[in-house]
């Protein structure tokens, strides 16, 4: 069996080179896509009718001040040079000053990001904890009642506008039933008590042992998180179902049954491990899209995160803040997106056996 060991070694080597190739391709697409993203935001920034010079000097500036600022901003240079300058600024974290808050946009973004992160993370936890079992159940019971329930629930999720569901949720669970708290992250009299160490209120309040605040934050968080989570749940359940159906048609599932495994034993212990890789990709992708969904949800729930920051900036013609927020969401989205793709390629069984 020496030959086999050699073979195994050769395979391992082939795998390493294949992984290296994927790492390179991942890095390349990341760079490429980021350049694309900044190019598009730069282009959008040029399209706007809001004068970037006025945004800096204010509308009472003299002609001379205006012209100086015009040149200082590089607006007299060729477009490509302007883009280069823009890219350089973005890479050094200089996203300009927000007109609305008079703070550097990057400072603002770092302040509001934890709120969105907290919301999206709780939402994805709900999406995974409910969506994966629901998808497995639907796939294993294809064409029967659980499957129909999951399909109808998914279809509803694909069709209902998130901002409307948020409003109806507020109306029913806050207005009529009083089960949850209303908009915002905390009741007013709880605000500014806990020092924001992480910016994640659930964590900060737990760290200080302020359980009243913890539960208050939770009662504010649960409805928007559940609504956002429902959307990722619909997607995760649908994909899990279809992966599961593919795997349950495989012969090794019968092997497991022949060995004496129960039906659900074969489903969870044999088929399920085989869908882990594509499932992780799907979960990553829906996490990324939650950041997007947060824009609308945050507006409805007055949740002081990235989405609300961007929409507020939008109505105050604060283009630096809008573009900065877009770049941040875009960068996070792209990174998660491409990273999931990369993970999938790495763990693709065909690559392993190549």
């Amino acid at each position: 069996m020496g030959a086999m060991a050699v073979n195994a070694a050769r395979r391992a080597q082939g795998w390493t080179t294949a992984v290296l190739r994927q790492v390179t391709s991942f890095a390349l697409s990341l760079v490429f896509t980021f350049i694309g993203l900044t190019a598009v935001t730069f282009f959008i920034g040029r399209l706007t009718k809001i004068d970037p010079v006025l945004a800096v000097v204010g509308d009472k500036a003299s002609k001379e001040v205006y012209d100086n600022a015009y040149i200082a901003l590089g607006l007299d240079r060729p477009l490509i040079v302007q883009y280069g300058l823009y890219l350089k600024r973005v890479l050094t974290g200089d996203l300009g000053i927000s007109v609305l808050t008079s703070q550097p946009v990057i400072t603002d973004l770092l302040r509001v990001f934890p709120a969105t992160f907290e919301l999206a993370t709780i939402a994805i936890v709900i999406g995974v904890l409910v969506g994966v079992p629901a998808g497995v159940l639907a796939g294993a019971r294809k064409g029967r009642l659980p499957d129909h329930i999951v399909r109808v629930g998914g279809l509803f999720g694909y069709s209902v506008p998130v901002f409307w569901l948020g409003l109806v949720g507020l109306f029913v669970f806050y207005g009529k039933l009083g089960w949850v708290s209303g908009t915002g992250r905390l009741d007013v009299f709880y605000e500014d008590i806990v020092t924001p160490r992480t910016g994640i209120i659930l964590l900060d309040s737990a760290l200080e042992g302020e359980w009243d605040i913890f539960w208050n934050a939770f009662s504010h968080l649960i409805l928007p998180a559940a609504i956002l989570g429902y959307y990722s749940l619909a997607y995760i359940a649908r994909m899990t179902r279809s992966f599961m159906i593919d795997q349950l048609a495989q012969e090794y599932v019968i092997t497991a049954r022949v060995k004496g495994r129960s039906f659900w034993g074969a489903v969870w212990l044999h088929a399920f491990p085989n869908i882990m890789v594509p499932l992780i990709t799907v979960i990553g992708l829906s996490y990324a899209s939650l950041l997007e969904g947060a824009v609308l949800t945050e507006t409805v729930f007055a949740w002081p995160g990235l989405g609300l920051y961007i929409t507020r900036a939008l109505f105050n013609s604060d283009m630096n803040a809008v573009m900065g927020g877009t770049i941040l969401i875009g960068a996070v989205f792209i990174t998660i997106n491409l990273f999931c793709d990369f993970l999938y390629r790495i763990f693709d069984p065909r690559l392993k056996s190549a």
Binding site: M1, M4, A5, A8, R11, Q250, E251, Y252, I254, T255, A256, R257, V258, K259, G260, R261, S262, F263, H270, P273, N274, M276, P349, K352, S353
Partner: protein, 278 residues
């Protein structure tokens, strides 16, 4: 036939469909002792369905019916899920066609074999592992310790099928169903796998139901042969008597088999008669 291991009387499997019932198996009857029984037929003749029906693994919405389906003196017809689970793998097991698909791609070989022990023998982890290693040796895998830690895609087809045999025999069942166990393998390793199977079945005194489309292999490997066509058993005879078979279909099958001893310029084409299914 000293003792009857399996008694099958009028076993039928039907699938309801949009265009009416599809009869995958029609009133099959036979008996099996601790012997080797071959089942021969073309694709779609119902031979694989037979194996799965005996294991209670006909998928929904298939309907299984039989006047009698006894294994070791107990009827299988009233089995609960739990009864089936303690039976499968422990008393009856099955080897399938292609190890590329029938082994779980994300589990280590050793764990897949040990799983059978853990399910039935109440083994501890260590005990199950040593049994799995011993079984790998029994199917003539030379460095079982290495193979134990490999994943299925790292094995050749012949090795994979030996692993499959190990997995299915480790709990020492009384009856083994081998569903086309060598059809997916290279001709060169077919004989090797058959030899291993032959030895293990003899040593352990198991009953074997050998399903194949290959008349030559079946006639040399088995004691008796069932000829199937269209879900029906057309003829049963001792393997040695195949040459003197009565049924026109069996004779046609024989005539269509190439042979080095009696080379023919042209092989006969199978002629089928719908009246056989009446």
């Amino acid at each position: 036939m000293s003792e009857s291991l399996l008694t099958v009387r009028n076993l039928s499997v039907t699938y309801p469909g949009r265009t009416g019932m599809t009869h995958a198996l029609r009133n099959a009857s036979f008996e099996l002792g601790r012997e080797r029984l071959g089942i021969v037929g073309e694709s779609g003749s119902g031979k694989s369905t037979m194996g799965r029906a005996i294991l209670g693994l006909i998928p929904r919405p298939g309907i299984v019916s039989a006047d009698q389906l006894d294994f070791a003196g107990r009827s299988l017809l009233a089995n609960t899920d739990r009864d089936w689970q303690s039976l499968r793998g422990r008393r009856i097991s099955m080897i399938m066609q292609d190890p590329k698909y029938s082994l779980n791609p994300v589990k280590r070989i050793g764990d897949q074999i040990a799983e059978t022990c853990r399910l039935h023998l109440g083994s501890t982890r260590k005990d199950a592992e040593s049994r799995a290693l011993a079984m790998l040796e029994a199917v003539q895998i030379r460095n079982p310790d290495t193979v134990f830690t490999l994943y299925p895609h790292q094995l050749s087809g012949g090795m994979g099928q030996r692993v499959m045999i190990a997995m299915m025999l480790v709990a020492e069942p009384d009856l083994l169903i081998a569903d086309e166990p060598t059809s997916a393998l290279d001709v060169t390793v077919q004989n090797e796998v058959l030899r291993i199977l032959d030895r293990l079945v003899s040593e352990r005194g198991m009953g074997l139901l050998f399903i194949s489309h290959n008349l030559t292999v079946v006639s040399s490997f088995c004691d008796r042969v069932l000829i199937m066509y269209g879900g029906r058993i057309l003829e049963q005879c001792a393997a040695a008597d195949l040459a003197r078979a009565q049924h026109p279909y069996t004779r046609a099958l024989m005539a269509a088999t190439p042979s080095l001893d009696h080379p023919k310029a042209e092989l006969a084409t199978l002629v089928r008669d719908p009246s056989w299914l009446e």
